[in-house]
């Protein structure tokens, strides 16, 4: 009968799909193989249960189909059978739960001698901080955050002076070294997720969270935000490049300490500001059109807005686009840019930067 045939195909098809699916775990690049193993155990237990129970259902549908004049067996209950089934189910549950809890104990047990790095999330980009030679992060305070001090580090805290700042969404890590991430958010909930490392943890504004893993494969891996954080959530991409230790040290030495960033000249300040505020998540500086229009070659040109008006991209236009973007949306783009309440100083720096991008 149709139901039995079609459902048998569905059941067999589902099981087969497990073996021929093109979509499976990404290649493992960390120490968290135990999570993969637990998933596979769970797949086997649940798979067997699915096949057995579906099979039984289909068997019954065939064997006990309706016959006129026949009556079903009257069997209100069978306590022994129910007990047996409960015991078997409990064993199945334990078989899945035990490895899972053991893996969890590992996951939350931060290793003592690990490389420490802080991941900072904001709408819609990532930045990173290393605690520097003293191995201790400087204190941070949300109220200290500014375009000059994007990490909000307390300038009076001695421990913060040597913190190494990575004001970019790409970070490097050394291979085969345990890494403990300290995670925090400047604004809303985010989640630091690297599929190949099997690791993720939310970033909660107002508190710190932790994540640890050991990268075991050289290469570049993507960070995808895994907690909804607004209209740019899907564009909040980061990168972790796993290097040999020597290459990692070289890369690290190219980044300034907190003290050095506080003493930086204001040349290139515009670029720092747009990096630190996350503008780069939606706007490119190299001509590619992303969620928002590119900045390269835009200053001084004409732009048509969604309402048909044409405007000249001058200083006033740029400042208004930042302070009140929703009233001058470029044609072909959506009105999803939030407003940024920047100081005159910061706005001037950005305008300078825009001009430089149109000079060639």
């Amino acid at each position: 009968m149709a139901f039995v045939i079609i459902t048998t195909i569905i059941v067999i098809g589902s099981v087969l799909f497990n073996f021929i699916t093109p979509w499976w775990f990404t290649p493992l690049a960390s120490n968290w193989g135990s999570l993969d193993q637990t998933i596979v155990i769970t797949l086997w237990v649940t798979g067997v249960a699915f096949v057995l129970i579906s099979g039984f259902i289909l068997y019954c549908v065939v064997k006990f189909r309706y016959r006129e004049g026949h009556k079903a067996k009257y069997e209100p209950e069978n306590p022994k059978l129910e007990l047996w089934l409960t015991v078997v189910t409990t064993i199945g549950v334990i078989v899945m739960l035990a490895p899972g809890l053991i893996a969890w104990q590992d996951y939350i047990d931060l290793p003592e001698d690990a490389l420490e790095v802080e991941g900072v999330g904001q709408q819609w980009t990532w930045s990173y901080r290393f605690p520097g030679d003293d191995g201790i992060y400087g204190n941070t305070n949300g109220r200290l955050i500014s375009s000059k001090n994007t990490f909000g580090i307390d300038p009076l805290d001695a421990y913060g002076q040597d913190d190494i700042l990575v004001r970019d969404n790409k970070v490097h890590l050394p291979i085969n070294t345990p890494v403990v991430f300290q995670l925090r958010s400047k604004d809303v909930l985010h989640d630091f997720y690297i599929p190949q490392f099997r690791a993720k943890m939310d970033l909660v504004p107002g508190q710190h969270t932790n994540l640890w893993f050991i990268p075991t494969v050289l290469g570049t891996f993507e960070v995808a935000c895994a907690e909804f954080c607004g209209t740019g959530h899907w564009a909040m991409r980061g990168e972790i490049t796993v290097d040999e230790m020597a290459d990692f040290q070289t890369w690290l030495s190219q980044h300034p300490t907190f003290v050095e960033t506080m003493n930086e000249s204001s040349e290139g300040r515009g670029r720092q500001i747009v990096q630190s505020l996350g503008c780069v998540a939606c706007h490119s500086d190299d001509g590619t059109t992303r969620i928002g229009p590119t900045w390269r070659g835009s200053f001084g040109t004409q732009r048509t807005l969604v309402n048909g008006e044409t405007m000249n991209i001058d200083e006033a236009y740029i400042k208004k686009s930042i302070m009140n973007p929703s009233i001058q949306i470029a044609a072909g783009f959506a009105s999803i840019m939030p407003a940024y309440n920047l100081s005159e100083d910061e706005l001037d720096a950005i305008v300078e930067y825009m001009k430089n991008l149109s000079v060639e």
């Binding site: 569905i10 979509w23 259902i57 189909r65 009556k71 969890w104 809303v188 997720y193 939310d202 740019g232």
Partner: protein, 576 residues
């Protein structure tokens, strides 16, 4: 004498005029129909929103108007509408209102006036929700979970406008409606049953709706508190949930709050909520499977105890939605254990449904098709829950399409299959006519196969790591192009399944007007709602005399009887 009065003792309201009969009716059957119609209408809207989402995922760029903002608005409103305004309202307000008095041998609910009010307050909540589509910012796009801080800030659609406010107000109004209705259902079940209808002789669907109502009454206050506090944070700039925030180039005027507190409040409500939806679906399956297999339900007592266990344990599993939310990691051990423990009574229920088919006499009617499809899809949905409940396994899988596949299978596909089966089964009781079999079968197959094809593959892109709530996957190298092909395939399936729901709608309306006239008890069911004097039941349900109950509701295939069923109100002496 009082005993021989026309309506044996129980006061019921006699409607006056057209408005009293059909609009502000206090008759539970009319109120049930009202709930059903409004819920299905808003549900169709929710389905349309999901198709908009699927268009973006399957054919990005085809519709310019679906930008990231409107995509997230579609996602959010789709989720909230389906869970609260369709499923909760339809299972409890629709099925609950119709079946509770009829199946218990009562004339109406304990408080018909409050019952009538509960519908109109629900209707008001729907109006408020729909109003959010028409405000300048549009509806909220914060995700149905409405997590602060983003849900009340700029950068999320509706966050700094009326969108989020209307949502929160609508939820508060819904909770008032639910409380009024829920108190009615509990009072009626506890206190207003016909003679002989002991608690352990109640049909399982009544147990299910009864326990689901309890869950709701105890869980919704948590959402209410969270919603009020979130509203305060949004309107009065308090900081219940808002920590220090640097946004838009400046430090905002908030501080000291805890976003994780909102999550605790929300999920303390949110987890029981999924059982509020699942339990009535379980009940429908219990009724349908025994009736259409012509066999008693297997293990009635265990079924009741399993329901009570599920209801109780459902209050201590909530933080399995928060394993990576930044709460104390040691809580993970506790919640993983309770979550996997709740699998055991749930499994017992599945075994009992399946054992009901053993040595049965199965009629492959349309309701039976829906039961069987429910079992298959609920198996998938329930079993995938075991992955997510296991705390460490949840780490790679949380917030991926594995979760999307799981919760749709277990909340959208299987309960909706149960729902359709229930509509099919009780349609003759409500209208006196049968739904068309052929259309029903076609609708069944498209829905069953279609939804399976939509949600089954999602688990695998979840294994791959494709995150949920992503407007577009194009930015990520780890997501191969084949995922875009799969998304296209899923969208096409979704469009077909969506279109096929109009077959049901047509069947509904057409059969109500010109369907084949139904005999009084077309399925040969034992439960009381089919044993009224007239079918559909008249006002007051039972005529002069309330029924008396002599047996449990599952005397199908009773040895010693010629017929293959004996209704609950037939005493032993009268068995033929």
């Amino acid at each position: 004498m009082e005993q021989n009065a026309a309506y044996e003792g129980q006061q019921i309201y006699h409607p006056k005029g057209w408005w009293g009969h059909y609009v502000f009716s206090q008759d539970h059957k009319i109120i049930a129909l009202q709930y059903t119609c409004v819920a299905l209408a808003i549900g169709l809207t929710g389905m349309f929103l999901s198709l908009m989402m699927r268009m973006q995922l399957g054919f990005p760029g085809l519709f310019d108007s679906i930008d990231a903002g409107s995509y997230y608005q579609d996602v959010t409103m789709h989720g909230m509408i389906m869970i609260i305004y369709l499923l909760t309202a339809l299972f409890l307000g629709g099925f609950g209102n119709y079946l509770i008095p009829l199946m218990l041998g009562s004339r109406d609910m304990a408080f018909p006036y409050v019952n009538m009010l509960s519908f109109w307050v629900y209707f008001l909540s729907v109006i408020i929700l729909v109003a959010s589509f028409f405000v300048p910012s549009g509806p909220t796009g914060a995700g149905w979970t409405l997590y602060p801080p983003q849900s009340i800030l700029e950068g999320t659609p509706g966050g700094d406008g009326a969108g989020i406010l209307l949502m929160l107000v609508s939820l508060a109004v819904f909770i008032v409606a639910f409380t009024m209705g829920g108190l009615n259902y509990i009072t009626t079940v506890l206190q207003s049953r016909a003679r002989g209808m002991k608690m352990m002789r109640m049909p399982l669907i009544i147990w299910c709706i009864f326990l689901a109502t309890f869950l709701g009454l105890l869980a919704f206050p948590a959402l209410f508190v969270g919603a009020i506090m979130l509203t305060f944070d949004r309107v009065l700039e308090t900081s219940f949930f808002m920590p220090e925030i640097f946004k838009g180039g400046e430090v905002l005027d908030y501080g000291g709050g805890s976003p994780v507190l909102f999550q605790h409040l929300f999920w303390f409500f949110g987890h029981p909520e999924v059982y509020i939806i699942a339990l009535p679906a379980f009940g429908i399956i219990s009724e349908l499977i025994s009736c259409h297999a012509r066999k008693n339900i297997f293990g009635y007592n265990m079924m009741v105890w399993a329901l009570i266990a599920i209801a109780g344990i459902s209050f201590i599993v909530w933080a399995h939605h928060m394993y990576v939310a930044g709460m104390n990691p040691y809580l993970g051990f506790f919640f993983a254990t309770t979550t996997l423990i709740i699998a055991i009574p749930t499994a017992i229920k599945v075994y009992n449904w399946v054992l009901t088919l053993w040595h049965a006499n199965i009629k492959m009617t349309v309701p039976m098709l829906y039961c069987l499809a429910f079992l298959i899809t609920f198996l998938i949905g329930g079993l995938t829950g075991l992955f997510l409940g296991n705390v460490s396994v949840d780490v790679p899988l949380s917030d991926t399409y594995f979760v999307v596949g799981h919760f749709h299978m277990v909340m959208a596909v299987s309960p909706v299959l149960a729902l359709f089966g229930g509509l099919y089964h009780w349609f003759p009781s409500v209208t006196g006519r049968m739904l068309d079999d052929r259309l029903g079968t076609i609708h069944f197959w498209i829905t069953f196969i279609g939804t399976y094809l939509i949600y089954f593959p999602m688990h695998y892109i979840g294994f791959l790591g494709v995150p949920r709530r992503y407007y577009s996957n194009q930015q990520y190298d780890f997501i191969p192009d084949s995922v875009a092909d799969l998304n296209q395939f899923i969208t096409i399936c979704a469009l077909i399944v969506g279109a096929s729901q109009f077959i049901l709608l047509y069947n509904f309306v057409n059969s109500a007007i010109r369907g084949k006239k139904a005999p009084k008890n077309p399925w040969g069911a034992c439960t009381l709602e089919w044993q009224t004097l007239e079918s559909p039941p008249g006002h007051g349900n039972w005529g002069d005399q309330l029924p008396v109950v002599y047996r449990w509701p599952y005397d199908y295939g009773l040895p010693g009887a010629t017929a293959d069923f004996v209704p609950q109100n037939v005493p032993d002496e009268q068995i033929t």
